[in-house]
Symmetry: C2
Subunit: 229 residues, 2 copies
């Protein structure tokens, strides 16, 4: 079973690097989020909204993962925050060593929060710890309300689900409530947000959750001294 | 480089089984399509529409691929055609051996067309030949018109792209024309259909393309004698 052996080696190596990342940012009181989703669910748009909504409260850095192009990093850079693009060149998920290398390229300054945007893939990122505090799954309502049942691994691997594009609900057969129920049937501990990154609806609750997570990592915000270092 | 060696072995084994599938269905004059897409782009709905639109013209069988559940197979079975569900149990794409085993479970009768619905994943199915005549990529307009640029491997691996959910165009920032242009910039040979599986718009051109492909495999349709066997 060479394939299984290789996979085990890959995951062990990955987890070791992820542990290094986590130890570092825990000691510095930095919140680290890992955004996962299907292609086009709205990770980058949620990221832009989050940066715009919170950048006055905290210093944010971003690591973008894509198969190719730097389109997403260019979108984030327009908000005036540091961003590093990883191109996996066909790789279906980010691994911790890639993130670790990218983090080393960020400017040498204190961040309050780092957000990693994974490759658009509802399957493969599931098993790869990137050293994050929380994995957040962005799911577009347009994908259909049965998706939690069909991709259960992703829903058990995350702490929060952001149901996006709810402004399109009137035009879709999918129901927000059914998607929520299906998600909770797979993982009853999920924190679920219902938002439209187009209209802004629902984003305040998301922003507050992120602020609370950041506060729980330590009270240091940009310009303050660390209290948990 | 154990990982690369293992991947090479996996692909060689896969291609060998895919070759067996292709040889069989070429000799029998059966058209085989492999539907790939992101989660929730509308593969199953296109499949239902295709079955409803063509089942009086040709005998159709379906192989469904999902991580878990038989939800999609149940939807197809309601149309009264043979369908086999593969559950990959976390696997991010179908492999030829899985398809070969599933095909053996179909009723022992002559099919004119077999459609394989891959796992919803815009990355991993790209490299895995399933013995199909054509790979068809279903892309929802809701995913954003930049996706061909960000997932180029999928667009070079397929012969046709079905841009779905165009009925939602008035409510989306994405433009059908931009998605088309971006797709053709990656692969100028693509046949592109613009459809709404909800309203039915654009499906006639898709049906005709499938009929023409079927005819090109040999003139035998259900009840007729093979001419190319």
């Amino acid at each position: 079973m060479t394939q299984v052996k290789v996979m085990k080696d890959i995951l062990q190596t990955n987890n070791s690097v992820a542990g290094t990342i986590r130890t570092r940012y825990d000691s510095e009181g930095v919140l680290v989020l890992n955004f996962v989703s299907s292609p086009g669910a709205g990770k980058t748009t949620l990221l832009e909204r989050t940066v715009a909504g919170l950048k006055n409260d905290m210093k944010i850095g971003v690591v973008e993962g894509d198969l190719s192009t730097s389109l997403d990093a260019e979108r984030i850079a327009q908000h005036g925050i540091p961003v590093i693009q990883i191109n996996t060149d066909g790789g279906c998920h980010l691994e911790a060593w890639q993130v670790n290398s990218a983090l080393a390229e960020l400017p040498d300054e204190h961040f309050d929060m780092l957000i990693i945007e994974n490759v658009g893939n509802l399957v493969c990122p599931t098993n790869f710890d990137l050293g994050e505090d929380k994995k957040v799954l962005v799911m577009s309502l347009t994908e259909g309300d049965d998706k939690p049942l069909k991709y259960p691994g992703s829903f058990t691997a995350v702490e929060a689900v952001v149901i996006n594009k709810i402004d399109l609900a009137p035009y879709l057969p999918a129901k927000v409530e059914t998607m929520r129920e299906n998600a909770l049937s797979i993982n009853p501990h999920l924190k679920i947000f219902e938002v439209s990154c187009t209209s802004g609806e629902g984003l305040d609750a998301w922003f507050q959750w992120v602020r609370d997570l950041r506060a729980a990592k330590g009270t240091r915000l940009t310009g303050e001294q660390p209290t948990n270092a």
